[in-house]
């Protein structure tokens, strides 16, 4: 058989696929990386598709726990290229499925990175997930996921604010901004309303907590004015959370505390009573 350039190129790809099927992944990687620069193969969707598969398998076998896996990055870029070069054939459909799978692994890596050490990675991975999904489905609706993401990020910043007194205010501003973003997406989100209420309430409570007992009375009066404004800000959010779910104990505790701190004892007592009645109902 005459050794034509087409045949040589075809062999490069076939050998890479053969190595992949035999799970000789490092060999498959070497061969596909040679194939991908071959002028006869570099515009063939199959070359990129198999490269995606080889790197995907490398990711699964060697870097599945690496939330910034370079193998995964290469697999994604290869499947994207394959998807772009192909027009609706089996390869194109499979590239899409593989991209969705890899996007899912990135999403899960984001979801499991929400702690005070790795949250920046979580943000990066969530954005990568969205970028891939948006690439595949430009009309995709991320509203629910965005809400969950923002709530999780707000939780992380809240934890950070309690650990880092120097940057506490800056973290709490971020928390506030995230809850506001959630409320723009869904004004009826119970958690965002409740948390926003708690955020303002705790801001006031912190101010009281940090007051020195020897604070002079004029200054105390000035602080009381400031406190009233802060507690009043928490009220509409907590009330909304209550309207959305009147049987949530935490909300009743919140309303009781806010009114108490605003020196509206009548309303505070009313919510206290409602909470007690709710507890009686729950114990029946």
């Amino acid at each position: 058989m005459a050794c034509t350039p087409e045949l040589i190129a075809q062999n490069k790809l076939s050998n890479a696929i053969y190595a992949l099927q035999n799970e000789e992944l490092e060999k498959a990687q070497r061969l596909i990386d040679t194939a991908i620069v071959d002028t006869l193969l570099k515009n063939d969707s199959r070359t990129w598709y198999y490269r995606g598969n080889i790197y995907k398998e490398l990711f699964k076998k060697m870097e599945f726990d690496n939330k910034q896996s370079p193998f995964r990055v290469t697999a994604i870029s290869s499947f994207k290229k394959s998807y772009e070069l192909d027009n609706g054939t089996e390869i194109s459909i499979s590239s899409q499925k593989n991209l969705k799978y890899l996007a899912s692994t990135i999403f899960n890596d984001a979801a499991t990175s929400f702690d005070t050490e790795n949250y920046l990675l979580a943000i990066e991975n969530y954005n990568s997930y969205k970028e891939i999904m948006h690439y595949l489905e430009p009309e995709a609706d991320f509203k629910e996921r965005d809400i969950q993401f923002k709530l999780a990020l707000a939780t992380t910043y809240t934890v950070l604010s309690s650990k880092d007194s120097t940057n506490k205010d800056s973290f709490l501003e971020k928390v506030k901004a995230l809850y506001k973003e959630v409320l723009i997406l869904d004004s009826n989100n119970v958690s965002a309303n409740y948390n926003m209420g708690i955020l303002y309430y705790n801001q006031g409570a912190d101010m009281v907590n940090n007051m020195d007992y020897s604070l002079d009375l004029e200054e105390l009066n000035r602080i009381q004015e400031e406190l009233y404004v802060i507690f009043k800000k928490s009220l509409p959010f907590m009330k909304k959370a209550y309207d959305l779910n009147p049987n949530k104990e935490e909300t009743l505790i919140g309303l009781q505390g806010i009114y108490y701190s605003m020196n509206d004892m009548e309303k505070s007592e009313a919510y206290k009573k409602e909470l007690e009645e709710l507890k009686v109902q729950e114990n029946k």
Partner: protein, 184 residues
């Protein structure tokens, strides 16, 4: 000779599904501080600066008594007693279940709303003693209380009945009068 790799099996276009993990988030806890008790504690500490007790009350501990059950204020005043003094006097916070229980020198007696009906007994019991009686129930300042906490436009304020205070041989500074809602 050029060999073609003909050992390839058909590559499976398997469908890949991965279950997405949910983002975890928790709701923050509301602060447990009793804001009103802290504000009252600041007021009470200030009263010790604006009111002068007679010399025989300037020895030993500075005793603040609470009549009846006011756990939050007791807790707050106990915290205050760890860091603050009245001149060289340490704070001592005591709880009395009734006015009859009061035997020793008490510099300040706080009568919470729940114990308001004990005011008359307390006033009689403390006659001739240099005790500042502090209450938090509307109308108490005309019934014998020296200082009565009131809520005005949702803010904590205090009424001062100067003659009731001075009746216990205590001197009130002009500055405190200026800050108070003066009753008499």
């Amino acid at each position: 000779m050029c060999m073609v790799n003909n050992k390839l099996r058909k590559f499976n276009y398997i469908s890949l599904v991965l279950i997405l993990i949910c983002f975890g988030f928790t709701e923050p806890q509301s602060s447990k501080i009793d804001t009103n008790s802290k504000i009252k504690a600041v007021f009470l500490y200030n009263f010790t600066k604006y009111i002068e007790w007679p010399s025989e009350y300037k020895n030993g501990n500075f005793v603040v008594g609470i009549l009846g059950n006011s756990t939050a204020l007791y807790k707050e005043l106990s915290l205050m007693s760890k860091t603050k003094k009245v001149a060289s006097q340490d704070f001592e916070i005591k709880i009395y279940s009734s006015a009859e229980e009061i035997q020793d020198k008490v510099h300040m007696l706080y009568i919470p709303d729940a114990a308001a009906n004990s005011l008359n007994v307390a006033v009689n019991k403390l006659k001739g003693k240099s005790t500042l009686i502090v209450t938090e129930t509307p109308g108490m300042s005309v019934q014998g209380s020296g200082i009565n906490f009131v809520i005005v436009a949702n803010r904590q304020k205090f009424e001062l009945n100067k003659s009731n205070v001075e009746g216990h041989n205590l001197k009130v500074s002009k500055s405190l009068e200026d800050l108070a809602l003066v009753v008499k």
